[in-house]
């Protein structure tokens, strides 16, 4: 259970950091960099969520005797 709390804070942290970087980069005028950073942050979070959902579906498979 504690794993979930950590990962939740990680995801939220990445989101907030990306938002901050975006505002900072906007002031410095380098807009294209901020897009890159948001993309990278998004991919990292997507990877985390995807791996958890994959794990979830595997668990469902063996719980509900999905042999098909």
């Amino acid at each position: 259970m504690s794993l979930d709390v950590n990962t939740i804070f990680q995801i939220a942290g990445i989101g907030i950091i990306v938002a901050m970087i975006q505002t900072v980069l906007k002031q410095m005028g380098k807009d294209d960099w901020s897009q890159w950073v948001t993309l990278i942050g998004f991919v990292v979070i997507l990877y985390m969520v995807a791996s958890l959902i994959g794990n979830l579906f595997d668990k469902i498979k063996d719980v509900f005797l999905f042999n098909g």
Binding site: M1, D4, V5, T7, I8, F9, I11, A12, I14, G15, I16, V18, A19, Q22, T38, G41, F42, I45, L46, M48, V49, L52, I53, N55, L56, F57, K59, I60, V63, F64, L65, F66, G68
Partner: protein, 126 residues
Amino acid sequence: MQIVGIGLIATFLTLVLKEHQPVVAFLLVIFVGASIFIFLIGKIQQVIETLEKIAANAHLNMVYVETILKIVGVAYIAEFGVQIARDAGQGALASKLELAGKVLILVMAIPIITAIIQAVLGLMPR
């Protein structure tokens, strides 16, 4: 207890993230939904095992019990997908998912329906 705690934390974080990064907030909601579901899977497993034991010593035909379990599984997953799609604002997609879930359940229920009909026909005097 833990689940409520995590759910609350997640709602607060999503509120914070909503203005800056709506996408990340949405991913966070999916993540929390999945983790709560994983937490429940363990409990569901015990319930299903007891059900199977009862069915086994009641000499029920295991095929039916298995199809019922599969139908419950499909219903769970379809519901999970529908809620997430609706949460993301995709009403049309959610209803498509729901339709797919129903059709799949129907397909799985066919053997049971045929068995019931045969049983009923068998009872009827000819």
